[in-house]
C-alpha cells in the first residue's frame, strides 16, 4: 500500500494514573502534552496541528469536551479535532495523528488523550449505564461489567479455558506495573489472590478488572523530514487499522473478536507484516479485564484461537519471554483512564522500541511493536504498528 509520507513518533508524555487527581481535564492534558513536547525537543511554535482522543463526555461531565480541553492539548488557534471510538479511542487517536501527517498537510502533530472519570461522582459506573440501547437494554438495569462477563464466559466455554489460566494475566500485568512510575495498581499478587477476590459478575472477580482512573497521555508526531532533523532514533508508525462490528452484540458470537482481527489485518497489510507472531517483538493489547489480553492476542493473530492461555502459562508473554505482552503493566496494573490508557500503550511501545523503558525494557532488543485498543459494545478494534 502506497503511503505518501512516513510518519514518526518523536516524543511521548504521561501523567500519573490515579483514582482521583486534583488537576482539571485541561491541566492533565497540558502536563502530558508539555512532557511529550519537551522530550521531543520541539516547542509549541513548531507544532502545526493537534488531535485529541477522549472517551464519553459523561465521564468528565462536559458536553463537547473536546472543545473544553483544546488549550491543554496545545491547540490554541490551530487545526484541531477530536476522534472518539469508545474504549478504542486511545490507540485510535494515534492513528488519527498519523493521517494528519501522512496526508502531507502537516509536518508536526500533537496527539493527546485525556480522561477524568472521577468527575462522574460518586461512581463513573453511572456514566456507563447510558452506553446501552434505551429500549431493549437499559430497562433491564444494565451494568457494564455484565456484558464483559458474558463475553468472558463465552470465550472460556468455547475453548475450555479455566479461570486459573486467565488470572495469570492479572498477576503478570500488576507485577509488570511495579516498574511503571505512573502506575495506579502495581502489586505482587498470586493466582490464588485473584481467585479469592470478591466475585462481581461471575466469572469476573475484583482482581480481573482494571480500575477507573484520571490521567492523560500525549505523543508528538513528525514527518520524515522533520523527524530526521531532530532525532537519531525516531519510531515509525508503519501501519494503522480500525474496524467496527455490529451494534447488535447479542447477534454475534462473542468468543472471538473479529473486529480486532479485521483492524489488525488492515494495519499489518499497510506495514507489510505477513507473519505477526514472528515479526512482532512486543505487543500492548488492550487489557481492561485479564481475559481481554488473551482474547486480543488471538484477535491480533499473535497466536491461534484459544492458544493465548497456553502461551501465558508457558511464560512466553512475560517481559523476558519470546513474545512480551503488556510489559508496561497494562490497564490492569497502570490504570484505566480510558483514552489515556490506550495512548499509554502507544507510549510504551515508543519507549520500548527506543530502548528507553528502563526497568520495564524487554531484553530482546525489540524492533517492531504493536498496540491495540478495544471499545464500544465489544465491537471496536484499533491497532497501530510501529518500528524503530
Amino acid at each position: 500500500m502506497f503511503v505518501k509520507k512516513r510518519v514518526a513518533v518523536v516524543g511521548a508524555g504521561l501523567t500519573l494514573f490515579r483514582r482521583n487527581l486534583k488537576q482539571t481535564g485541561r491541566e492533565l492534558a497540558y502536563e502530558a502534552t508539555k512532557m511529550a513536547l519537551d522530550s521531543s525537543g520541539l516547542t509549541l511554535k513548531d507544532i502545526e496541528c493537534a488531535t485529541l482522543g477522549t472517551a464519553p463526555d459523561a465521564f468528565d461531565g462536559i458536553h463537547m469536551k473536546g472543545e473544553n480541553l483544546l488549550d491543554g492539548a496545545g491547540a490554541w488557534r490551530k487545526p484541531y479535532s477530536r476522534v472518539f471510538v469508545g474504549g478504542g479511542t486511545g490507540v485510535f487517536v494515534a492513528n488519527s495523528g498519523w493521517w494528519h501527517v501522512a496526508s502531507g498537510l502537516f509536518d508536526t502533530c500533537l496527539v493527546v488523550a485525556e480522561e477524568k472519570m472521577s468527575s462522574c461522582f460518586p461512581h463513573p459506573q453511572y456514566a456507563f449505564t447510558t452506553i446501552f440501547d434505551p429500549m431493549v437494554e437499559r430497562p433491564l438495569g444494565m451494568n457494564l461489567v455484565w456484558i464483559f462477563a458474558l463475553e468472558m464466559h463465552r470465550y472460556m466455554h468455547a475453548h475450555g479455558i479455566k479461570k486459573e489460566q486467565i488470572a495469570l494475566v492479572s498477576v503478570k500485568n500488576k507485577r509488570n506495573a511495579m516498574d511503571h512510575p505512573c502506575a495506579q495498581l502495581p502489586a505482587k499478587i498470586t493466582v490464588e489472590d485473584v481467585l479469592n477476590s470478591e466475585v462481581m459478575v461471575w466469572p469476573v472477580q475484583r482482581l480481573d478488572i482494571s480500575p477507573t482512573s484520571d490521567g492523560a497521555a500525549a505523543l508528538v508526531l513528525a514527518s520524515e523530514d522533520v523527524a530526521k532533523k531532530i532525532t537519531d532514533n525516531p519510531v515509525w508508525i508503519d501501519g494503522v487499522g480500525w474496524c467496527i462490528d455490529s451494534t447488535y452484540w447479542t447477534n454475534r458470537d462473542l468468543y472471538f473478536p473479529k473486529y480486532v482481527e479485521c483492524a489488525a489485518r488492515m494495519a499489518y497489510k499497510m506495514a507489510g507484516i505477513k507473519n505477526p507472531p514472528k515479526e512482532i517483538d512486543v505487543a500492548e493489547p488492550y487489557d481492561p479485564f485479564d481475559y481481554k489480553e488473551l482474547h486480543h492476542m488471538e484477535g491480533l493473530l499473535l497466536c491461534k484461537k484459544g492458544e493465548a492461555p497456553k502461551l501465558t502459562e508457558e511464560g512466553v508473554t512475560q517481559r523476558d519471554g519470546d513474545l512480551p505482552i503488556n510489559p508496561s503493566g497494562g490497564l490492569l496494573g497502570v490504570g484505566n483512564p480510558i483514552a489515556a490508557a490506550g495512548l499509554m500503550k502507544v507510549c510504551e511501545i515508543f519507549w520500548q522500541l527506543r530502548g528507553e523503558a528502563g526497568k520495564r525494557q524487554v531484553p530482546s532488543d525489540p524492533r517492531t511493536g504493536v498496540a491495540q485498543a478495544w471499545g464500544d459494545l465489544m465491537q471496536y478494534g484499533s491497532v497501530i504498528v510501529m518500528r524503530s
Binding site: 488537576q23 482539571t24 488549550d71 468527575s119 461522582f121 434505551p134
Partner: protein, 157 residues
C-alpha cells in the same frame, strides 16, 4: 429506505429516557488557589506569562499561546470595563424571566481576560459597552469559594 413505514400516526411511539448523573468537578491546582483568595480575602488573582507579557484572569496553569508553565501570581483589580453585554429575557427552560438578566463580559483592568458575569444595581437601558464596573462580593461568611461569591458587577464612576 425501508420498505414498510408507519402510516397510522397512532402507531408512532417515543421512548423516554435520560443521561443524568451527578458531577463533582475539582478546581484544579490553579483554580483551588484562586478560589481560596476569593473566599478568604475577596481578592482576584491572576497568573502571569512573562514570555507573552499577559496576566491571565481567571488564572491558568499554563499559557495557551506559548505553553509556558505559569508560576507567578499577581493580585489584580476588582474593576474593569464592559467589553460586551446582553439582556436575557428567557431562562434555560425557555420560560420568560420575570426580571431580565444583564450578562456582560467584564474585562478586568490591565489583564488578559476577566469574567463573564451578571450586572447588578443597574437597568438595561443604562448599560453601554465601555462603562466601568466593579465586582461586588458576598459577605465573607457567605462565601464558599465559587464564582457565585461574586454577586455581580456594578457600574462605578
Amino acid at each position: 429506505m425501508s420498505l414498510e413505514k408507519i402510516g397510522d400516526p397512532r402507531e408512532i411511539r417515543h421512548w423516554m429516557g435520560h443521561m443524568e448523573c451527578d458531577y463533582s468537578y475539582t478546581y484544579g491546582v490553579v483554580g483551588e488557589k484562586f478560589f481560596k483568595e476569593i473566599k478568604e480575602n475577596a481578592k482576584i488573582m491572576g497568573t502571569k506569562c512573562k514570555n507573552c507579557d499577559l496576566i491571565y484572569v481567571p488564572p491558568r496553569l499554563f499559557c495557551e499561546r506559548c505553553f509556558e508553565r505559569l508560576t507567578e501570581w499577581v493580585e489584580v483589580s476588582k474593576r474593569g470595563k464592559v467589553h460586551t453585554y446582553t439582556v436575557a429575557y428567557i431562562d434555560v427552560d425557555g420560560s420568560k424571566l420575570k426580571k431580565p438578566i444583564i450578562w456582560a463580559m467584564v474585562e478586568i483592568d490591565n489583564v488578559h481576560g476577566g469574567f463573564v458575569h451578571k450586572l447588578g444595581e443597574v437597568e438595561p437601558k443604562d448599560v453601554e459597552i465601555g462603562i466601568p464596573v466593579e465586582a461586588i462580593f458576598k459577605e465573607k461568611k457567605e462565601r464558599v469559594g465559587s464564582m457565585l461569591d461574586i454577586k455581580y458587577f456594578k457600574p462605578v464612576k
